[in-house]
């Protein structure tokens, strides 16, 4: 059983484009402080950033939780948002419900969720329409023999 070493929660606010990316930057700062392998930091950074952007674009409020154990890094983002009606469709690269404004800012090209999955060793997505979405990504620190 992996031992939990650190747990930290961050609030993310929807539509706050100005501060978008700040929470995931805090996550990478912590991991840098802990001298985690740069490639792992890169992957966690992408996961946290994409998840944060999803909240900023589509949801009202969310909590991003970073958990570091001696075996893995877990990023969980649980939001109070509209939920995703068709998860399979949402996971398809290129599928997006973003507005033109979001695309003008360089986001909303339907690559967020696939990118999170691609960078995770374990990925799960639960969503209920009208309630919210929970994205969980786990990245292993060490490979098991």
């Amino acid at each position: 059983m992996p031992e939990e070493l650190l747990r930290k929660a961050f609030e993310i606010h929807g539509q706050d484009f100005e501060n978008a990316g700040e929470r995931s930057a805090e996550v990478t700062t912590i991991l840098k402080d802990l001298d985690v392998d740069p490639n792992i930091i890169l992957r966690v950074g992408i996961v946290a950033f994409e998840a944060e952007m999803n909240v900023v674009m589509y949801a009202g409020r969310a909590t991003l939780t970073l958990v570091v154990t001696d075996h893995e890094i877990v990023v969980e983002v649980a939001d109070e948002g509209p939920g995703i009606p068709d998860i399979e469709l949402a996971m398809q690269p290129g599928y997006s419900t973003a507005s033109d404004e979001m695309r003008d800012m360089g986001f909303g090209y339907g690559l967020g969720l696939p990118n999170i999955k691609k960078n995770s060793d374990v990925f799960s997505l639960q969503s209920e329409v009208g309630k919210g979405t929970r994205v969980l990504s786990m990245i292993r620190l060490i490979s098991y023999g």
Binding site: E3, A20, S24
Partner: protein
């Protein structure tokens, strides 16, 4: 030479412990203990901010002593193109070359060919790259070290192509040893540098290998020799009879305003100068705010290498001189083009070793211990005043907290937490007035 991880030395006689250097250091690499500044070499990126900040000239940069050149049988100068923009109007590149020869060099190397070779290698690398962006230019050694120290996750985005001056060093040694029947060790290839960071990148390359160059001299060391030489020849009113040292404008344009822009313009190129601006850009990249940059060309000095700390002339004047010089030259010339075509397929331009992140303090411990240390630092920080006064000898409360967590300092170094600390400081700093 013993292990040199950074390029500065502090003269303990001159240093009064005034905290100026510590306060401005962008990577928090300086501490002040017993009224003397000292470096944490692992964090120093050779940017030179401390050098300028010191009011007592107590900090000096590592350089190659001129006497060192006498150990070579044959000496080749590889001048940074910025050198040609340092002199008053009327002094041509050919005259600058004459001055370098009079200074004691046997040959002056024109590295237009190498610049073009390296440019082509970079272009190929960038075109084939499918990894994370931006790719980061390695032209400025300070930027390379900044990535190693502060943005370790981006080290693989540094372009692993050797610098043109390194290729020039290799080729000069090869060519002159063959021509003169000398061993390559007997040929000294010296870079004439606009900044101390490049000197250090030659003495100790970031990738941990041995440079092809044998050292570097700053512009001030050759400046007078060039001017003196010219004035001697003035009576002859001759134009130097030497072949042109700069055959095309590419070399100059790259060092003035374009950077690598022309090479990689289709790759969403961004040029940034000035360390504080660079740090801001890197932070924005980390935060995902700059997602659409393909190629980052960053230079520690404002305005690029013309603003280097070993230059003599005003950087804007230098830029103007180089621009007008470039306007008289063709973009490419047949001699250079033929050489590039001949050499490109036969030479390897990739970096001899990968650039790795610099190990950080406390990295030897296990992850669990590192988490504990971090918690210790957070707890220590919570008890500090948050004024960043620097009297503890660390630049910020956060840095002191970090030092405490790894056992390098005590919370009692803070004047707010220890009564005797102020007494101690008074004794050290007011010793002459007591």
């Amino acid at each position: 030479m013993d292990k040199l991880t950074h390029g500065f030395r502090i003269d303990r006689e001159k240093c009064q412990g005034c905290l100026s250097c510590m306060r401005v250091c962008p990577t928090h690499a300086i501490r002040v203990k017993d009224a003397k500044a000292q470096y944490r070499p692992d964090s120093c990126i050779d940017c030179g901010v401390c050098l300028r900040a010191c009011p007592r000239d107590a900090i000096c940069a590592t350089t190659t002593p001129v006497e060192d050149l006498s150990r070579f049988k044959f000496k080749v100068a590889v001048p940074s193109p910025v050198l040609f923009g340092q002199f008053p109007t009327g002094i041509t590149p050919a005259q600058v070359v004459d001055g370098l020869l009079a200074f004691g060099f046997d040959e002056v190397w024109d590295y237009s060919v190498e610049i073009n070779l390296v440019a082509r290698a970079i272009q190929q690398y960038v075109d084939q790259w499918t990894g994370p962006t931006p790719l980061i230019s390695t032209q400025c050694p300070v930027v390379v070290r900044l990535v190693q120290v502060s943005y370790p996750a981006m080290v693989d985005q540094l372009i692993p192509v050797q610098l043109a001056r390194e290729i020039a060093g290799r080729e000069a040694k090869r060519r002159f040893s063959a021509r003169l029947g000398l061993h390559e060790d007997q040929i000294g290839v010296i870079y004439i540098t606009p900044c101390q960071a490049k000197t250090i990148s030659i003495l100790q390359p970031a990738e941990g290998v041995v440079s092809n160059l044998d050292g570097a001299l700053g512009f001030p060391e050759v400046y007078n020799a060039v001017l003196a030489c010219r004035s001697l020849k003035k009576s002859d009113a001759i134009k130097s009879s030497r072949p042109p040292v700069i055959r095309n404008s590419g070399l100059l344009r790259m060092h003035v305003s374009e950077g690598m822009g022309r090479l990689v313009q289709q790759h969403r190129y961004l040029r940034v100068t000035g360390l504080s601006n660079i740090i801001q850009v890197f932070n924005d990249i980390e935060k995902g705010k700059l997602r659409n940059v393909g190629f980052l060309d960053a230079y520690n000095c404002w305005n690029g290498c013309a603003g280097g700390n070993l230059t003599v002339a005003n950087m804007y004047v230098t830029g103007s001189t180089l621009r007008s010089l470039a306007s008289t030259l063709p973009e490419m010339d047949p001699v250079t083009e033929a050489e590039v075509e001949r050499r490109f397929p036969n030479e390897d331009f990739s970096l001899k070793a990968p650039i790795r992140p610099r190990p950080v303090r406390g990295a030897a411990a296990s992850l669990k211990e590192r988490v504990q240390m971090r918690q210790l630092a957070e707890d220590a920080l919570a008890s500090l005043p948050g004024l960043d006064c620097g009297l503890c000898g660390a630049p910020t409360c956060r840095e002191l907290a970090r030092d405490v967590s790894v056992g390098d300092a005590s919370k009692n170094d803070c004047v707010f937490l220890s009564k005797s600390r102020l007494q101690d400081l008074r004794r050290v700093y007011l010793r002459n007035t007591a």
